[in-house]
Amino acid sequence: MTSQLPDRAKIVLEVIKGRRSIRDFHDGEIPDEHLRLILEAGIWAPSGSNLQPWEFVLVKDRNLLEKIKLFSPGLFGRPATIIIICINRKISERAGKIGELMSLMDISMAAENIMLMAYALGIGSCPVASFNKIAVKELLDLPAHVEPALIITLGYPKELPKPPKRRSLEEVVHVDRF
């Protein structure tokens, strides 16, 4: 198994470094089996106290998607589908005061899993935080304790943007002391 590790690490790094935020999509439906794999990647994210406070609303209906777009200034292009990652407050509050912050971390890790799996399947994605939460909650008939937190757009990319600048390891890594 150990001898396989470098190859596996290479693939993981390629997927992590290759993913881009895609804001321009080709038309084309995503097969259901791929959507299932993408969502499965989401539920395997780490979660504080293993509470898994996430709920995923998959929007495939074009009409509904267009309505959500009306209230989502940060949503660019015409994605084939979107996943709205929500926080279930009835679950997150079990973690006490830290539950609010922890649930955000949990859904963020789920979102990254989702986007990496999408990339591995040749599907582009973009996380969108700029949307009107109240309007989206109304459109999706979400119960009061379920808060929409992040939209992930999914679709086939028209082009892959160049890698954005990254702060270097030397700048951001502090060994033993800041």
Partner: protein, 106 residues
Amino acid sequence: MLTDSNRKLIENPHFKLLSFLVSSARGCVDEPVLYGSLRLIDAAARLMDIMEEEGLINDDLIRLRELIKEKMNLIMHDEASFVEFLDYISQELARIVKKANSERTN
């Protein structure tokens, strides 16, 4: 079920712009300061889409709109260039206005 009038409303480009503006107004309360500029320049491009549908646009404005769509994502990775781009768009719009004025007086 959507009634015909509801469907017409949500497909109406003016209504789409209206929804964008209202959502942006709320979003800007919590978002980075420069996102206000992003939403406004995005709205300008969307307004030019409507002007095109209504036959109220010329080649200069089409070029300006395409430039906005191409460059507005600069905000994601290069804020200084984004601001320079806003300056450029402002100057180009002034040139269009100046040209229109001189065409009228000639």
